[in-house]
Symmetry: C2
Subunit: 177 residues, 2 copies
Amino acid sequence: MINSQMPLQSSYRDQDCSVAAALEVVGERWTLLVVRSVLLGSHRFEELRAALGIATNVLQARLTRLVDEGVLERRPYQDHPPRCEYHLTEKGLALWPVLAALTDWGDTYLRDAPPVTFRHRDCGGTVDGHRICASCGERLDVTDVVAEAGPGAAPDHRLRASGPRPLSPAEPSIPAR
Amino acid sequence: MINSQMPLQSSYRDQDCSVAAALEVVGERWTLLVVRSVLLGSHRFEELRAALGIATNVLQARLTRLVDEGVLERRPYQDHPPRCEYHLTEKGLALWPVLAALTDWGDTYLRDAPPVTFRHRDCGGTVDGHRICASCGERLDVTDVVAEAGPGAAPDHRLRASGPRPLSPAEPSIPAR
């Protein structure tokens, strides 16, 4: 249903609106799915390419843009040849509420069963639509949450093999620029 | 910073993910801004065109898609010539959490001061990042909230003239298809 004949407007910059400003950074095709994949544990270029199934040049452009905008940071993991991983900055991790809200909406209106569910890391309670633990009532931040395969996950879904995964990084993230 | 030379992928359909399913419906350029404008009270084609400043054919394509997907419904308001307004369905109103999260992120990382702020309609309390009233603690739905011009609104911002506006429709919305 995507109509690629539609002319693209050059920007949302004239819109006096924080939604427009946010979409100017993360509204490009594939961008929020790159953020989602990093959040779910894909950090290397090849992992991201495999997770997303998109062309190398598109992925490289999205990653460069997200690093330039301070949403992702590069972390070297190999010197010869030089290779880096992509991790979310504080600004990038702060996109979790956007992804959680899109997940809820997609689960409710577009899918028969959720492919991914979120739980409170400490008590195992489910995460409600206000990002509050349905079991203990705590307001949850991205660092409090694990993702796991839901009833709608495909048999080969990555989270089926890995088990529950924390959304937050193992190492502290750099502050947003 | 938008690179219109990037090839567009045809769809996110192979992604086993509710975020991808949601973006397949609302991730197209301008689509979420159309939803935002309807939520803030623009219902007629000319109002939306003026609010968004986009080409007539792009706006018409986005509106048709959103009606087809059950996010918007048409309501006739004039017979000669026939004219209709666009209103959010239950499915469309359920996008408010996505827009609220994008607003928060844009306010925090991209703007000096918020152009639009949200308040609890009943008690006037501000709406926190979990969509909970900071004053009375109530969990807020879209029907509980009014939008008003914030400290970052331009002098000609529509909400300055209108004062606080409820986000929910005056008439009950139709159920999602």
